[in-house]
Amino acid sequence: MVAEVPWLWSGLGAYFAATLIAIWGVAPRFAGMPVIQNRRHEYAVLAFLMLGVTLLAVAIAERWLRIGHGPWISLFELLMSQLWSLGLIFVLLYWRLPGLRPSAVIVLPVMWILGSWVLTLEPAASHFPPTYYNAWKWVHVGLGKIFLALLLAGVGLAGVLILRHTRRGQAWFRNMPSNVIVDRLAWRFMMLALVFDSLMLIAGAVWAQDAWGRYWAWDPLETSAFLTWLLLAIGLHLRLSYRVPPVVSGLMIIGVFMLAFATYFGAPYISPAAHKGVV
């Protein structure tokens, strides 16, 4: 077993514990009571999330030391680093915005898509292409991580808006504010996401110009990233100008997230060119 795997499993274990406690915190059938009114379970969720982030950071560091470069190349590395960054940013939001805490029951299971995916992959060492020595890689990837984490936070609130149309959803999220506030908060995350998405595209273009001698070439990943930006812009225009019902609003956010998810974890592995670093 390679060095990073036990840390990865431990980190995912901590995330799993956080997920269970978050669900236990809002779901009456797990707790045997209407809704848990105290904050203790939230602090437990926060603690396990922080533990998970720390353990995943150790896993990334162990792998970095083992193969000599950061988590930039293979899908295994990409998923591991996204689990870490999504967890880290969600911890910060969870800590600073108590109002969105119940939405962890939506956010954490979404993260588990990545968590269960990474467990199916081989942690084989990857080749570090020469074009990845460029410092813009850090800017591009860092901004991209913030963008995806903001979208994920928006998805959590979008899920609340949609689930509140069910009796169970109303019970689960009764301690959250009104739909007006949840909807506004979700779209504020989308506004910030648009800023970070735009900056990510700019940094990516600078990197691409240095690395491959062109700033934009409509390769599959670039096209997919542009479609995500466009869909986000369309969503924001609709939300800021029309009366969008909460369910539609939530579905729009989820649609943007799904496209971003496909861009991050699908397109780089469809395209045999540029972004996989073989050029």
Binding site: P98, R164, N175, Y215, I234
Partner: protein
């Protein structure tokens, strides 16, 4: 005067027709469709699928910036939309003036514009390479086990404005930039046989025969050449000895490489070593040197710095707008803050602004719960 005012009003009314949000949404939707159509095959897709929606969006942007107070009276939003318009214009100028090309430069030779291959230039490209003077020097390419290509260090000598020659090292993400032209090393590089041809009764000519890319075509290091005034083709095959090792780190460079040139003319085959002659029916051939060539990608677009600057300005504008919007109203304020919410009706039965209560279970909305940890 009155007539001029009327004309301005008529123009503004005309522009207003193109300023609608519906046109913006249509333009963005068409652009998304265009991008989807070009997915994975941008060169095989008609360019109008992207250009037409962009043109529609440009008209819409001009109209909206000019006539829509929601845009032109909010500095951040105005800067963002002007930046979007400028990006479209700059991208257009970039496509009209750009140049993309490839180049194979033999070590020891200088850049010449007529050596450019696969040229793709915009109709307004200036086409002047008067200030581009550099000579290719030796280079190295590192390889990891599994033949994974690593860093390239290509030495070049550049002629400065003062007329002096200055050494530089370029490679991978460090292009050679001269007068806006950017030369990038590529994976395409290999060996060259420098030969002197002494035709019967003619003047000697020295030139080079580039072999296919190495180590990509390591098994196929051959090429052919027909001497001027002859009908018989001469075939060359280079038997190389390099540091190549598929299972270890190694460095590709001319200094640690040697080779024997197999020359075939008609049905006769000769082995020629460095410095040796071979007499062929058409003349005499001398193997002068074994060296290397480097394949460059050439890129020119005078707008790239401006694109970056305008894009950053646009994002600053957008950030300013969002920041102002978010700061105007606390995150958990129940008051409406968008056109949709200002319509007066609740967005939904649950927790409407008018009732301030969730409809599902009639529990009070716990706004304070969201504002901090004081509970």
């Amino acid at each position: 005067m009155r007539c001029r005012c009327l004309r301005v009003l008529q123009m503004l009314n005309f522009l207003r027709k193109f300023a609608s949000l519906k046109i913006a949404l249509l333009g963005m939707a068409l652009l998304a469709i265009g991008a989807m159509l070009s997915y994975g095959n941008p060169l095989g897709t008609p360019v109008w699928v992207l250009v037409a929606p962009m043109a529609l969006l440009a008209v819409n942007l001009v109209a909206a910036i000019t006539t829509n107070p929601r845009i032109n009276q909010q500095p951040g939003l105005l800067v963002f939309h002007v930046a979007l318009l400028l990006l479209l214009l700059l991208a257009t100028v970039g496509r009209l003036t750009h140049l993309d090309a490839h180049l194979e430069l033999v070590v020891g030779t200088g850049f010449e514009a007529d050596k450019l291959l696969e040229i793709n230039a915009g109709p307004l490209h200036p086409g002047s390479f008067d200030s581009v003077h550099f000579v290719q020097g030796p280079y190295t390419v590192e390889y990891s086990p599994g033949m994974q290509r690593g860093l390239t260090h290509s030495h070049v000598k550049v002629k400065t404005a003062a007329g002096a020659w200055e050494g530089r090292i370029v490679g991978d993400d460090r292009p050679l930039v001269m007068d806006g032209y950017r030369f990038y090393t590529t994976f395409n590089k290999g060996f060259t046989s420098v030969l002197t041809w002494l035709p019967a009764g003619g003047a000697p000519v020295t030139g080079s025969v580039n072999m296919p890319s190495y180590p990509l075509f390591e098994y196929k290091q051959d090429n052919r050449w027909t001497p001027h005034g002859s009908n018989t083709e001469i075939k060359f095959w280079l038997q190389l000895k390099t540091a190549m090792n598929a299972e270890a780190h190694w460095v590709l460079d001319a200094a640690s490489s040697s080779g024997v040139l197999i020359v075939t003319s008609g049905d006769k085959r000769y082995e020629v070593r460095l410095g040796e002659f071979v007499d062929l029916p058409q003349g005499r051939l001398r193997f002068e040197a074994l060296t290397m060539w480097m394949g460059y990608r050439l890129f020119y677009d005078p707008t790239i710095q401006w694109l970056f600057f305008v894009a950053i300005m646009g994002i600053l504008g957008l950030t300013h707008y969002f920041w102002k919007k978010i700061n105007l109203q606390p995150w958990m304020d129940e008051k409406p803050d968008t056109i949709a919410e200002q319509a007066g009706k609740p967005l939904d039965g649950i927790g409407s602004p008018s009732s301030g209560k969730p409809s599902g279970n009639n529990a009070p909305v716990t706004t304070a719960y969201l504002t901090g940890e004081k509970h």
